[in-house]
Amino acid sequence: MAIDDDLTYQCTPQSGSSAANVGLIAEGVSAGYNGTAIVKTFDFAAHAGELTALIGPNGSGKSTALKAMARVLPVLAGKVSVGDLDVHRAHSRTVAQSLALLPQGPIAPEGLTVRELVAQGRFPYQTLLRQWSANDAAAVDVAMNAADVSQFADRRVSDLSGGQRQRCWIAMVLAQDTPVLLLDEPTTFLDLKVQVDLMQLLQDTAREDQRTIVVVLHDLNVAAAFADRLVMMKDGRVVADGAVADVFVAARLADVFGLEARVISDPESGRPVCIPVARS
């Protein structure tokens, strides 16, 4: 178990990599609500050291797929695993030591300070008898530094701006200290500058800590600018999966999103950018 974790942490990022490099695997997953599958035979793999973005039009099942992988939703068929760990069968607290989730619209209880919120990320490591350790305190400090919220440590979460608050939530899941991180639309409703800062934080975290990060994104250009891999969904199925340059092409945007757009290449980074075409 411990050896597997080390492998996941230490291997270098490369796309199309070997099995040892895989952080999170979903095989033939079907999931949905009230027994009706919204996501159908979803096959997916995310790798350590990479930021993988799940994109697709509204109702394509990208959030449902993420929730199924995070065990918020049960799977109707298939299996999700992190290393040897079967996410839907293993003890929930054990899973929480390998897989963290930042859901859409989490609730910050009134009066909670930033440090107290981030400290909640240590929940899976605590028991009734072992409530708080030096390890926990260190992990909280590291997470607050990484997410750049240390200067707010003793302020109330409810008093912060939307972007600052989202950084606090990210610090909380970082403090959970898991090899795999899932985030459901973490940038929605935020200013572009704040979105860019958050995505930079996630990209740095994936690369520097060799974590596997999967993020559901709404904004196509933000996804194209920061992701290492894109997985595109439509009608509950994966329709494209690969390097950003291969997936993010005009023909596919037209096919999947019904979006008429030109895709050009950023002359500096070489990353694709889509420009919607106005009818004139």
């Binding site: 054990t94 929480a96 859901p103 009066g111």
Partner: protein
């Protein structure tokens, strides 16, 4: 303000709180025993508790009447406050409490019916009957709210709780018409009172309330996680369905014990947890135990007021808690919804 110094100050406050609360509780407890139709000096109260003398008149009053009443106030206050704190955390509804969500009247109705129709008034059975009633009322309130347009929101839950309470109150009146004699004895009990509780009633309620309190303390950490949303809690490794069942058990056990002792004592579960939250922050590991202390203190003081305000006439304690709780309810509706 030095930011680095702040967490330590907070930690210091945390170490200090049990001492302060215990001291205030002890003071309120002794004062509660001291006041009454005949005021007994505090010194005599302590003397009676520490070194009782056989045949001493004050000591007899204290041991046979006043001490049981003070213990009842502590149990009911602590129990209802902890039940309210748990309900607010799990439902993320600032107005959730045993009274407003129908549990108090569900438990009371069940007791009235069994005592009134079946004459089953043994103290050993009352907590169980109250628990069944509280559970049934909770289920009914939840069902109505869940089928309301827009689903179970804080507002639909409160409305549904009010509707069920009104229905049960009407049914209690009906039982009254059918059997006035039996009901006469229950009339005072139904306003929420600490008067005339026998030691036997307290002893039979104690295991229920103790079990509820132990579960509440054990689950407190998970309640904090759940108060951040179901999905966040799952992500942190909380078994949400199991936790909800545990909390339901704790809430029903605490409510049943409290109703068996004092009838439907309203608003304690609403007022006290918000008070505790203002002083001690949002971590349920602190809120649960401090709510227990604050609830006990609150009801001791309310009961002192109930006996002093219009002396020699005694007001029902439930009327005093409602007089405090009403304005707090309005304030919560205006600021938290």
């Amino acid at each position: 303000m030095n930011a680095a110094a702040l967490p330590e100050a907070r930690a210091g406050a945390r170490v200090g709180w049990p001492v302060v609360l215990l001291a205030v509780l002890a003071l309120a407890f002794l004062a509660h025993i001291s006041v009454g139709a005949k005021t007994v000096p505090l010194f005599t109260v302590v003397e009676a508790l520490v070194d009782p003398v056989d045949g001493e008149f004050d000591h007899i009053i204290i041991w046979s009447l006043r001490l049981p009443r003070a213990v009842a106030a502590v149990m009911v206050g602590a129990g209802l406050a902890v039940a309210g704190a748990l309900m607010q955390g799990v439902t993320r509804n600032p107005l959730a409490e045993p009274g407003l969500l129908g549990l108090l009247y569900g438990a009371s109705f069940a007791v009235v019916v069994t005592v009134g129709f079946f004459g089953l008034a043994a103290p050993s059975w009352i907590p169980l009957i109250a628990a069944v009633g509280a559970l049934a009322a909770a289920a009914l309130v939840w069902l109505i709210a869940a089928h309301a347009g827009g689903g179970s929101t804080p507002i639909t839950l409160i409305l549904s709780g009010a509707a069920v309470t009104a229905l049960l109150a009407a049914l209690v009146t009906l039982v009254n018409l059918l059997d006035e004699q039996t009901f006469e004895e229950l009339r005072v009990w139904l306003t929420g009172t600490l008067a005339g509780r026998g030691v036997e009633t307290l002893l039979w309620a104690a295991p229920w309330m103790l079990a509820g309190l132990v579960v509440a303390l054990g689950a407190a950490r998970q309640v904090t996680a759940l108060s951040m949303g179901d999905e966040t809690a799952v992500g942190l490794g909380v078994d949400v369905a199991r936790l909800r069942l545990l909390i339901l058990f704790a809430v029903v056990a605490l409510t049943a014990g409290a109703v068996a002792i004092a009838g439907p004592m309203g608003f304690v579960g609403l007022v006290v947890p918000h008070m505790a939250r203002m002083i001690f922050g949002h971590d349920y590991r602190l809120i649960v135990p401090t709510s227990a202390f604050c609830g006990a203190i609150f009801l001791l003081v309310a009961d002192i007021v109930a006996r002093m305000a219009l002396a020699p006439i005694e007001i029902s304690t439930g009327i005093v808690t409602a007089l405090v709780g009403g304005p707090v309810f309005v304030w919560l509706v205006r600021t938290r919804l």
